[in-house]
């Protein structure tokens, strides 16, 4: 696979992954939230229970006004990108949401990194990381929006 993610830090309110693009074609990585092998938002918060894990369990337990069950992309973006403009329930729902941020670390011809939230065929939220072809590494932070105490 051209893009891989290694969990390097897990706290109650923040996950940090080291992303690696090996330079080959096929430049999209999916981080799931089903309890699958890492990288997976449920699996990776097993030893760091907190709000990130609560959000990752939105499909099974619901979250705030988001009912349990299949979500759509707008709702996934609301939960994981703190982009609530198109989601229902929208920004009037007072709940904590997460955001994703990428900082490149290495790569003389460093690829441009992109991260977005979507859902898989069953409605489970996923994070999609894409990169142009070009060897390099970067850190992906999945964290609570708004600076929660004890990241």
């Amino acid at each position: 696979m051209a893009v891989t993610a290694l969990l390097v830090n897990a706290r109650a309110n923040r996950l940090r992954y080291l992303l690696t693009q090996d330079g080959n074609a096929g430049t999209t990585l999916t981080i799931t939230s089903t309890g699958a092998a890492t990288p997976d938002l449920l699996t990776d918060t097993t030893n760091a229970p907190g709000k990130i894990r609560t959000i990752a369990k939105a499909f099974t337990d619901g979250y705030g006004a988001f009912p349990a069950g299949a979500l759509n992309q707008a709702q996934a973006r609301a939960l994981w990108m703190s982009d609530r403009i198109a989601a229902s329930p929208g920004s009037t729902e007072v709940i904590m949401t997460a955001r994703c941020e990428i900082t490149p670390r290495t790569g003389a011809t460093a690829p441009a990194w992109n991260v977005d939230a979507n859902v898989d065929g069953g409605g489970h939220p996923i994070l999609s990381i894409s990169a142009q072809a070009g060897a390099g590494t970067a850190y992906l932070d999945v964290e609570l929006e708004g600076g929660a105490i004890g990241a």
């Binding site: 390097v8 923040r14 080291l18 670390r105 290495t106 441009a112 850190y139 964290e143 929660a148």
Partner: protein
């Protein structure tokens, strides 16, 4: 123009620098030796960033007085990358920093950020900024303790 790094905000748990460059051959660094700004000891207020930067003279958590001996330790302290394992590994209850860039002007993702030994004193951790483009670009570099009260 060489790459310049200018302190624009100093809080107890966050430092913000403005990084400006239009020269891909001119990387710049922020050491931790108490020299002229930019320097993590000089620029930080009392708090965990100063404690981390002073690891050589005061030790920090599992790192004894004498300072760091590997780049992995520098990355653990300044990038919160604990993926290299002992003596800094998951479960160690040490506050660590993250270092992230937000582009202000110029092309997409024109800089790389990494943590290194030195570069002035190899027993101390530092940040290196590598510009990728010969085109003018600027960005904010945040070195911060995530989720701490009082940025």
């Amino acid at each position: 123009m060489a790459t310049t790094i200018t302190l624009v905000y100093a809080g107890h748990n966050r430092l913000r620098y403005l990084v400006v460059s239009d020269d891909a051959s001119a990387p710049a660094s922020i050491p931790s030796v108490g020299g002229p700004s930019p320097d993590l000891i000089t620029d930080s207020l009392a708090g965990p960033i100063k404690e981390i930067a002073s690891v050589k003279t005061k030790g920090y958590g599992v790192i004894p007085v004498g300072g760091i001996t590997t780049q992995a330790q520098a990355r653990a302290l300044l990038l919160s990358d604990l993926g290299a394992g002992p003596p800094i590994a998951f479960g160690q209850e040490m506050v660590t920093c993250t270092s992230r860039l937000t582009m202000r002007s110029g092309g997409a993702r024109a800089f790389l950020v990494d943590a290194v030994r030195g570069p002035v004193d190899l027993a101390t951790p530092g940040i290196t900024i590598t510009p990728l483009s010969g085109s003018a670009a600027s960005a904010y570099l945040d070195i911060e303790v995530g989720g701490a009260i009082g940025a």
